[in-house]
Assembly symmetry: D2
Homo-oligomer: 96 residues x 4
């Protein structure tokens, strides 16, 4: 899968993908109600990740979950990252 | 913990607890978006259940989750069931 | 996807698939340590199910999880059921 | 809850608690089979955390999960951290 130009990624982000680009990663931070809410969100994200066979790094800090996406095999951001980012955005913002 | 009279349970249900009583059980059915949504909901319910050390029976049928609560030790419905029912109601209705 | 003959299903079960056939369903019951263990097992099964886009019915009764597989679209058991059954069997027997 | 002396923490670690101390945190890294396995492990850890009302920081990197425990309110490591560390150790090492 081809690595996307940063400008192409930024255009997608400008068009409604609710992530920020940090170098060769897409980052999303989600603040929920509490730890149980984070756990439910991570389960939902995990199910999408398994479906796509593409897996973000996931950090849980009680009510805050941070997701990081990149395509290690390609050495940068690819369409697979944007696709999964969009699917994760489609999860309800309050998950539990 | 004392078993509650059916009338006491029904009064609580009338006052906003979104479950139905079937004999000595409280039952809640929740229809979500899809299987991943159900999985996230069950994770959130499970976290509350562990916190309360009180565990509903849980059935997952793709986007539909059915929860059943009773207090086996007491042989009927108790305040523990109503308390957990209320906490589960407080989860967002769309979970993922 | 073609519905398999019951004899073909039973042959697969005889060759090491740890499920039982009940009519047009494969059924697996798994007894774990406690509720948290069941929850972890269901999350692992759910991840496989999302990956396969094929989803068992799942019932949780504290430390006991029952899974039921069939292919609704085909009206019976298919290769998709046997494949997912095998992948679920490959999960560690003690999950948490 | 009182902050424990580093020596007291190290004594507990020497006596079988499978975590390392990094300053005022206990850290455990667990390498599993794959992402689904990590997800199941995190669900099991999360259930214990909710039961204890004490929550580690959790990082998922595909098949590797890192847990960090400390007692923020106390400003250091307490008995609550050692208790939860032991309960997490009691989870099966292969979770899914």
């Amino acid at each position: 899968m081809d690595v996307l130009e940063p400008a192409a990624v930024d255009a997608a982000l400008g068009a409604g993908v609710a992530w920020t680009r940090e170098g060769s990663e897409l980052v999303k931070t989600r603040r929920g109600q509490d730890f149980g809410d984070s756990l439910a969100y991570v389960t939902a994200v995990g199910a999408l990740a398994e479906e796509a066979n593409h897996h973000p790094d996931i950090d849980i800090r009680w009510n805050v979950v941070t997701l990081r996406l990149t395509t290690h095999d390609a050495g940068g951001l690819t369409q697979a990252d944007l696709d999964l980012a969009r699917r994760i955005d489609a999860l309800s913002t309050t998950t539990a």
